[in-house]
Symmetry: C2
């Protein structure tokens, strides 16, 4: 596999400042594979053999305990997952499955750790990426502990709306079932939460959502940059 195949990967914050030869070496040993939907990629408890990078499609991170299962996160292109387990040479804390047909780059953990030792710029980039992931989970945790289900949904809808141009209409990027689990609720409860938001100008038609009164939604949702901003 050659670097020229993957300008998008090279452009990732994680790799953009890396020395050419180190990046090429990583790509030499990497696999680029396409997987069908709903395929299990990794299971929590497995040793971290690879770093995963979603190039196309999308991946659901989830976890189980007792008989329960919950979506922990959703990774879209171009994003990495389970970086921390790779760096610690530890077992995965989360499982992952494809949500759609997905093209995924797999880089052996060992090579990531070697590159980290040899390339100071890469080490710096890893810290930035890791710190971002950390802050992402903290935000997710605040979201869950400080907001009701309806508030979480409202803020999520505003985020998607914004991501997709903010022109009043957008598509849900996932199953409602998956969205519900990601927001920490049941599918039934998500359905009811949509009804609760109807008076605030939320119109649902399949996976198409229209927001006819964004002001009203923002009054209800009270978005908070320290929870909702993807950057910083």
């Amino acid at each position: 596999m050659r670097a020229s195949d993957l300008p998008e990967v090279r452009a990732l914050g994680l790799f953009s400042s890396m020395e050419e030869k180190h990046f090429d070496a990583l790509m030499e040993v990497a696999y680029l594979q396409t997987f069908p939907p709903q395929l299990d990629l990794i299971a929590e408890g497995d040793v971290a053999d690879f770093l995963y990078i979603v190039v196309e499609g999308s991946v659901e991170l989830f976890a189980r305990s007792n008989g329960r299962e919950s979506t922990m996160g959703l990774v879209r292109p171009v994003g990495t997952f389970i970086l921390a387990a790779v760096l610690k040479d530890a077992v995965y804390l989360m499982s992952a499955r494809t949500a759609q047909r997905s093209k995924i780059l797999l880089i052996p953990s060992q090579n990531i750790r070697e590159a980290f030792q040899q390339d100071a710029e890469f080490a710096r980039a890893i810290v930035q990426e890791l710190a971002s992931c950390y802050r992402g989970v903290v935000k997710e945790h605040k979201n869950l502990k400080l907001r009701t289900a309806v508030e979480r949904l409202a803020n999520r809808l505003l985020r998607y709306h914004n991501d997709q141009g903010g022109n009043g209409s957008f598509e849900l990027p996932h199953d409602k079932r998956t969205l519900a689990s990601a927001l920490g609720m049941t599918p039934e409860n998500l359905s009811r939460a949509f009804n609760t938001l109807k008076p605030y100008g939320v119109e649902v038609e399949g996976s198409t959502i229209r927001l006819t009164d964004v002001n009203s939604m923002e009054t209800l949702a009270k978005p908070n940059p320290l929870i909702d901003d993807r950057k910083t």
Copy 2:
């Protein structure tokens, strides 16, 4: 401030492999201060001026949104907090206050970032620490999403019991109010959860807890290393 004052800090994973001169340089510019209980140290949204290291006492990390407040974590000696914000030169996502009279080491963010650039061993240690923090939050998030309140309490009691020797009796390291918030419940609900656990051999006397039937507790709690283990 001299390094000899703080062998415990030097022994922290974060600093143990650092070059002597770099460690000394950091300690030159660090402040070691003692704070009374319930003192606000930092507020979410502030720029990250310092890395904090709890040397004695304990610190509560918490967050607010809308009118609500929730405990996000509890830091005991010797532990650091808000490393990610320091490394990203971003604003804090959490506030912090002392839970008890505490001795705290403050290292200016700028110096941490400089040391990170200059000392490859330190950079490596930072990545390990950051990855550990990340995995800690993921575990906390799984705990909250996959367990009921009673299960969370049971597992937390087992952890404290283990930390303090596992001889059947231990002390709660924090207010019940704080413990409740850390576990994602109200103080009233925590009190009721203790009652629910009484048939499983949990005896409460102020902040002293006795476990008279650990087997029974473990059957109920179903501890999971991918949630409860502090290491890995």
